[in-house]
């Protein structure tokens, strides 16, 4: 067996595998509002991240996504409480002072009674969104977004490069903004208010613009776009096929995930879209002669990781078809059921915690002592 097939052989997993796994978990979460299953998905994603994240900078992304998720739940509950109406339940928790609204806003109301049903329903719905966000966060923490972009098909290469550049710029904008705000302090301004904001934005944007021009020059001098020559017809054809196909895929996925959509919308357009897109990508791939340095292998662990995510999603989809009642509670105040099929399916999503190879531990960079490098040069 080649070493890439062994889960014990330490290497970075193909980012596509992590994303498929995460998308599987997200799709599973999108199919239910049962808090038990949602909480389970949340725990599964968290455990896998804890077990298999690398010490690279993006390894800490999960915490940020988790905070965002909690914020979403909180906002959802507060809004529901403020805007709730008595029609949502009978168990009154407390009553807020009601703000009278003009006739125009008929059907809306601010304040008034807050019912347990309304709050709980808001919590469950918020939890669903939070779980999906955490699944995405898990993918971000486990796989470098840039490594994923290295895998985009040749036809989408330009789009990939643009995305990579954007990814570099976002953190640099943040550090630029911090620098400029520090400079405000040095000029004796406290750095709040609209004026301070406008004083921050201009220098930051100017810096970003300068940098992007520099980057474009560097890319041009390093041969970017050199190998792509093709006829206009070819290029148009590729573009139409690819984007038509991707559109089809999007519509198809939407149809599949939204349980209320017509069944015609789902699978057929997904398949049609996939065929179109594949055609476009193949056509576009012919025209570039770019080569790829050390592509990530797709071996047994990748199959296992991606598969475990898909099993989780499939478990929920099957349950949804057979027994939809257990995925959506009949009322907010009932004790949520614990159906065995979805629970088992979601638990399969834990597999990557052992099946994925451990990421290579980089020797912690000792930023403060660059001596060893000097010796190397001298040697």
């Amino acid at each position: 067996m080649r070493p890439v097939h062994l889960p014990s052989y330490s290497r970075g997993l193909h980012p596509g595998a992590w994303w498929l796994w995460a998308i599987g978990l997200a799709a599973a979460a999108s199919r239910t509002t049962n808090p038990v299953i949602l909480a389970l998905v949340l725990v599964v994603s968290g455990l896998v991240v804890a077990a298999r994240r690398s010490d690279a900078p993006w390894g800490n992304a999960y915490a940020a996504f988790l905070k965002l998720a909690l914020l979403i739940i909180a906002i959802r509950i507060v809004l529901q409480a403020v805007l709730s109406s008595g029609a949502q339940g009978v168990t009154v928790l407390f009553t807020l002072p009601e703000v009278p609204l003009p006739e125009f806003f008929a059907g809306l109301k601010l304040g008034g009674v807050v019912t347990a049903e309304a709050v709980l329903r808001a919590f469950y719905e918020g939890l669903q969104l939070a779980t999906i966000i955490c699944a995405v966060g898990a993918a971000n923490a486990l796989a470098s977004a840039r490594r994923l972009l290295r895998c985009v098909p040749a036809a989408l290469y330009e789009v990939g490069v643009a995305t990579v550049v954007a990814l570099t710029f976002a953190p640099q904008l943040v550090s630029d903004a911090a620098r400029v705000r520090a400079a405000h302090r040095l000029r004796g301004q406290s750095g709040t208010g609209l004026r301070a904001l406008s004083r921050t934005v201009m220098p930051v944007l100017e810096g970003a613009l300068d940098r992007s021009v520099e980057l474009a020059a560097a890319m041009d001098s390093r041969g970017y776009g050199r190998t792509t020559d093709s006829s206009r017809v070819d290029r148009r054809m590729t573009a139409v096929l690819t984007f038509g196909g991707l559109l089809g895929v999007c519509v198809g996925v939407y149809g599949l995930l939204d349980a209320s959509a017509s069944p015609l919308l789902g699978m057929p357009s997904l398949l049609l879209g996939a065929v179109l897109a594949a055609g476009g990508l193949a056509l576009g791939g012919r025209r570039t002669r770019r080569t790829r340095y050390r592509p990530d292998p797709w071996a047994l662990p990748e199959w296992l990781v991606a598969g475990s995510g898909l099993v989780a999603a499939a478990g929920l989809f099957v349950t949804g078809a057979l027994d939809p009642g257990v995925l959506h509670l009949p009322g907010p105040l009932v004790v949520p059921p614990v159906p065995w099929l979805p629970v088992l399916a979601v638990l399969v999503g834990l597999l990557p915690a052992v099946a994925a190879p451990a990421p290579p531990r980089s020797v912690r960079p000792s930023v403060r002592s660059p001596q060893p490098d000097k010796e190397e040069v001298a040697a």
């Binding site: 690279a56 900078p57 470098s144 840039r146 290295r150 490069v161 990579v164 550049v165 570099t168 620098r179 400029v180 520090a182 400079a183 405000h184 302090r185 040095l186 000029r187 004796g188 301004q189 406290s190 750095g191 004083r199 201009m202 220098p203 100017e206 940098r211 520099e214 980057l215 474009a216 020059a217 560097a218 890319m219 041009d220 001098s221 390093r222 041969g223 970017y224 776009g225 050199r226 190998t227 002669r289 770019r290 080569t291 790829r292 340095y293 050390r294 290579p360 980089s362 960079p365 930023v367 403060r368 002592s369 660059p370 060893p372 490098d373 000097k374 190397e376 040069v377 001298a378 040697a379």
Partner: protein, 556 residues
């Protein structure tokens, strides 16, 4: 290898050509150094080599540029990617990927080289530049010297015949600069690569050059030829060449070694002067400053303490950057903070202006704790010119910037403008701060900071990107400040600047004070921090050309 035939470049909207009638031939295997002031067209010349001028920048190029037989008129930069490798000033700006190994492979991927070739070349390049330990490291975590070497490696993998570098060592500390230059000379000698580089810090690179191209700027004729010959006519020259002018050596030596071999006579003469002088009456000793040394290095009266740092610890996410620093800063004293990148220089400056909160220990600046003082009050006590002086500036003209500074500081209108005019006369009021030269921008930032009249002025890497002329101007400004009773702290790598202006040098290493003492003692004691003149004249304690000139003039 590179031919310029009567090349002129005029950018859109400018009436005068940036480069005029350049004729140049650079042969294979040469290391060619391009010298010139800011704005003299160095970058334009470099970028014309691979066709970025005019294909990318626009503008009108007349004449003909040919590289390895390819005319840039018909070849775009990308078509020259396998012949010319271009490394920009800030390597971070040119990185397309985020890991060392991928960055090295990027150019080859664009050229469509087969994977087996790519694999081999990446390994070779990692070894050649001593990067193999770093292959999986994210680019953002590398030190400046490492980044520069990765940038060089990333263009080397396409096996270009010409390497073009725009100020490769300007932003680096002396050690990192040595790393990069060692790598470059190795490429020239082992691979026969043609290297064209522009650099302000001539003292670092001149000795390696086979040819110097001097751009006087302002449309004057380009001078090119043997380094020693060009140095005789150039108004930008490193201290060894200046010393040669004072000592009357022709042709001038280019390295410390050459100068030292010729300096026997000069050393004897100076030694004689020193002996004669130390035998003299005490009043003459007082007049000449230290017994043997120049006037400006005279220790100032240490009566008033402006700031004090006690047991200061600063950490970033638990990693200490400063580990228990004790210092006091006095009126009229110019203190230089030295040490390699990451030694804690910037952290100390930031702690003094309250941009970072100490983990423990105390900072006291004029009776205030900077981290707890309102910014509006703090600027009257201490001011910092950051590494990127442009950060301080955000108005759209010099006049507006000055008006804003007056308002921020609550001083009468025109104060800042007056200061700026005194420090850098003759800058039009409607000029946009971004269109100023590096030196003018630094001066404007300094004027903005000085508007609130802080007794303590801090500057972080002020000589980055400054040419010799701008640096001389800065030296006189700093001396003026010290004479007016300001306390000045410089964090810098520039040993020549330290030799010229500092009274006291504090060397930081790994967040601790390694050395603290009078500039002459600290700087001469360490070969890494010694200025060129000190190296040439060692063991005599003269540090700058100016000192030597004064000594010789007073003697005759």
């Amino acid at each position: 290898m590179i031919e310029f035939d009567d090349v002129s470049v005029t950018y859109a909207g400018l009436s005068r050509p940036t480069l005029a009638n350049v004729d140049l031939r650079i042969d294979e295997g040469e290391l060619c150094l391009v010298v010139g002031r800011t704005g003299s067209g160095k970058s334009t010349l470099l970028r014309a080599v691979n066709g970025l001028v005019p294909h990318f920048t626009g503008g009108l190029l007349s004449g003909r540029v040919r590289v390895d037989g390819r005319d840039t008129r018909t070849h775009r930069p990308r078509d020259l990617a396998d012949v010319v490798g271009l490394v920009g000033q800030d390597p971070m700006d040119g990185f397309v990927t985020d890991v060392v190994e991928d960055e090295l492979a990027y150019g080859m991927e664009s050229l469509g080289l087969p994977p087996s070739v790519m694999r081999k070349r990446v390994e070779e390049t990692l070894d050649l530049l001593g990067l193999s330990e770093l292959r999986e490291r994210p680019l953002a975590t590398l030190s400046g010297g490492q980044q520069q070497r990765v940038a060089i490696g990333s263009v080397l993998t396409t096996h270009p015949r010409v390497l073009v570098l725009d100020e490769p060592t300007s932003a680096l500390d002396p050690q990192a600069a040595e790393e990069v230059l060692a790598a470059l000379t190795r490429l020239v000698h082992d691979l026969g690569l043609t290297v064209v580089l522009a650099e302000h810090r001539l003292e670092r690179v001149l000795q390696y050059a086979d040819r110097v191209v001097y751009l006087p700027g302002g449309g004057a004729r380009v001078v090119d030829g043997d380094p020693a010959e060009v140095m005789e006519v150039s108004d930008l020259a490193p201290p060894v060449v200046e010393l040669a002018k004072v000592a009357g050596w022709a042709p001038p030596p280019l390295s410390v070694r050459d100068a030292r071999r010729r300096a026997g006579g000069l050393r004897d003469r100076l030694e004689g002067l020193r002996v004669a002088r130390s035998g003299d009456a005490a009043d003459q000793v007082a007049r000449s400053g230290r017994v043997e040394a120049p006037q400006h290095s005279q220790n100032p009266p240490l009566d008033e303490v402006l700031g004090r740092v006690k047991d200061l610890v600063v950490s970033y996410r638990g990693v200490p950057a400063l580990r228990g620093i004790d210092l006091s800063l006095c009126t009229g004293e110019v203190m230089a903070l030295m040490g390699r990148n990451g030694a804690g220089k910037s952290s100390l400056l930031k702690a003094l202006v309250g941009l970072v909160r100490p983990a423990s220990g105390a900072v006291d600046v004029g009776g205030h704790d900077p981290a707890r003082t309102k910014p509006a009050d703090l600027i009257r006590v201490v001011g910092l010119v950051p590494q990127e002086p442009g950060d301080l500036l955000y108005a759209d003209s010099v006049a507006a910037e000055c008006a804003m500074a007056d308002k921020d500081a609550g001083v009468p209108d025109g104060t800042c403008r007056e200061l700026f005019d005194r420090l850098a006369p003759g800058v039009p009021a409607d000029r946009h701060p971004r269109d100023l030269s590096e030196g003018q921008r630094l001066t404007l930032a300094l004027a903005v900071v000085l508007t609130a009249r802080p007794p303590l002025v801090l500057l972080d890497e002020p000589t980055r990107g400054l040419d010799y002329t701008a640096k001389r101007r800065l030296v006189s400004v700093l001396r003026e400040l010290a004479a007016a009773g300001h306390g000045v702290v410089l964090a810098t790598h520039d040993v020549e600047l330290v030799a010229e202006v500092a009274h006291r040098v504090v060397v930081l290493g790994d967040g601790e004070v390694v050395a603290d003492g009078p500039a002459a003692d600290v700087v001469v004691a360490s070969p890494a921090f010694a200025p060129q003149v000190a190296k040439v004249l060692s063991p005599l304690p003269w540090l700058t050309v100016e000192d030597v000139r004064t000594a010789l003039e007073t003697a005759s």
